[in-house]
């Protein structure tokens, strides 16, 4: 089974594709068979950030049944061990996937034989983005130190988290229990997760424990991109603290990535930034975040195995 890292941002302009491409290159350099999937279907351009030519095949070939299997749309990249599936090319319809198409894609992604699969998601809180984000529990949020970006990242985090809770409540047939909790305390709703959890635990300790365990398997990370010298270095950490204290959701802060004009230059030259400016502050930050990410995912896979055994 591949490790799948969905990567999402609350708004456009956070240079999410650049981070996704760079993380993919770092994984491939470590020897991992890595696949990048561009799911920013309305504005697919991940290939440009990793120096891959304009792809001839794309996800739309699979959605439009020009090919039978998703792996037929995989193309190699100039980096050894790194492969990609491009997003839709010149096909406006694919930006609004039907539910069945989305389910088919999700099923196929989970079957692909890679060590790591990174999903570059569309910015915002569309159902496409949230459903693709929840394909695994290892999502990474990307934001920038601007009020507009932090506002939108909170929106995305809430949307993802609340949808996950709803999914869990449906899967374990908790619906009646959740309704009873809300009847006892009208604030104990999905949007107030810790209160809801407390109420469910009171009503049914066993199911409450199951819900808590399920939510504890979420292992989200947050990256602060385009960080400038004058920006407060703690914003990302603060965002994680507020989320933990007020939504009862742990998100690990993975670090700041310095703003660098050369990122723009690298994109214009269609060349991977990590190759063009390997010793820049931004490249060092990327490598440090990458290390934290690998450690976090290693630890959490251990936890997940343990939880799996208990359940």
């Amino acid at each position: 089974m591949p490790q799948i890292w969905p990567i999402g941002g609350g708004k456009g302009g956070t240079v999410k594709s650049f981070v996704t491409g760079s993380l993919g290159i770092l994984l491939a350099r470590e020897g991992y068979q890595t696949l990048l999937i561009d799911l920013d279907l309305g504005a697919a351009n991940l290939h440009t950030t990793i120096g891959a030519p304009n792809p001839e095949k794309s996800l739309s070939d699979f959605v439009n049944k020009k090919v039978a299997a998703l792996d037929e749309t995989i193309i190699p990249t100039p980096t050894p061990n790194l492969f990609m599936i491009s997003g839709a090319m010149n096909n406006l319809d694919i930006a609004n996937l039907a539910h069945e198409q989305k389910t088919k894609i999700l099923r196929e992604i989970a079957k692909l034989p890679y060590d790591y699969i990174l999903l570059d998601l569309e910015a915002g809180t569309s159902f496409n983005t949230i459903d693709f984000f929840l394909i695994s529990n290892s999502g990474i949020f990307i934001t920038t130190p601007e009020p507009t970006a932090t506002e939108n990242i909170y929106r995305l985090i809430r949307a993802v988290y609340f949808r996950k809770i709803r999914q869990v409540l449906n899967v374990h047939h908790f619906r009646a229990l959740a309704k009873e909790a809300e009847e006892r305390n009208n604030k104990a709703t999905v949007t107030n997760p810790d209160l809801l959890l407390d109420m469910i635990k009171e009503l049914d300790p066993e199911k409450g424990g199951m819900l808590e365990q399920e939510l504890n398997t979420l292992e989200f990370g947050l990256l602060m991109n385009q960080h400038r010298k004058q920006d407060n270095p703690n914003i990302g950490r603060f965002i994680c603290q507020i989320i933990e204290k007020h939504l009862a959701l742990k998100i690990q802060f993975l670090g700041n990535i310095a703003f660098d004009d050369n990122v723009h230059l690298a994109v214009c030259k269609k060349s991977p930034f990590l190759e063009m400016s390997p010793y820049s502050r931004t490249a060092i930050d990327l490598r440090e975040c990458f290390k934290k990410l690998l450690i976090m995912k290693d630890k959490s896979s251990g936890i997940r195995d343990a939880v799996g055994q208990v359940l």
Partner: protein
């Protein structure tokens, strides 16, 4: 989250009930930075009125706990309500665990 009025001063500052004065100061400084007027992280998470209410509760918690007399009076009220004892038990348990390791 649980409504702020239902949280103890210790919970609001995220400190144990046996926190030292320097731990209380440290926790207050951290929390104040998190919720202050120009905090970008807090600005977009809460409506301004809620953020100000949190700041007011933080200040109340800090002023109560940083003063030994008001803290001891507050602790007594928690014990009368049976809250402090429960929290102390948790703290003792945590200490025992630390000691075991």
């Amino acid at each position: 989250m649980k409504p702020y009025p239902k949280q103890t001063h210790y919970k609001i500052l995220d400190i144990p009930t046996d926190a030292s004065p320097s731990e209380i100061n440290h926790a207050y400084r951290n929390a104040f930075e998190l919720y202050q007027d120009d905090s970008m992280a807090a600005y977009s998470f809460f409506p301004d009125s809620e953020r100000k209410e949190i700041l007011a509760r933080l200040e109340e918690a800090y002023l109560t706990l940083v003063n030994p007399e008001s803290r001891s009076c507050y602790d007594r009220s928690l014990m009368e309500m049976g809250i402090m004892e429960k929290e102390n038990r948790y703290q003792d348990h945590a200490k025992r665990l630390k000691g075991d390791n």
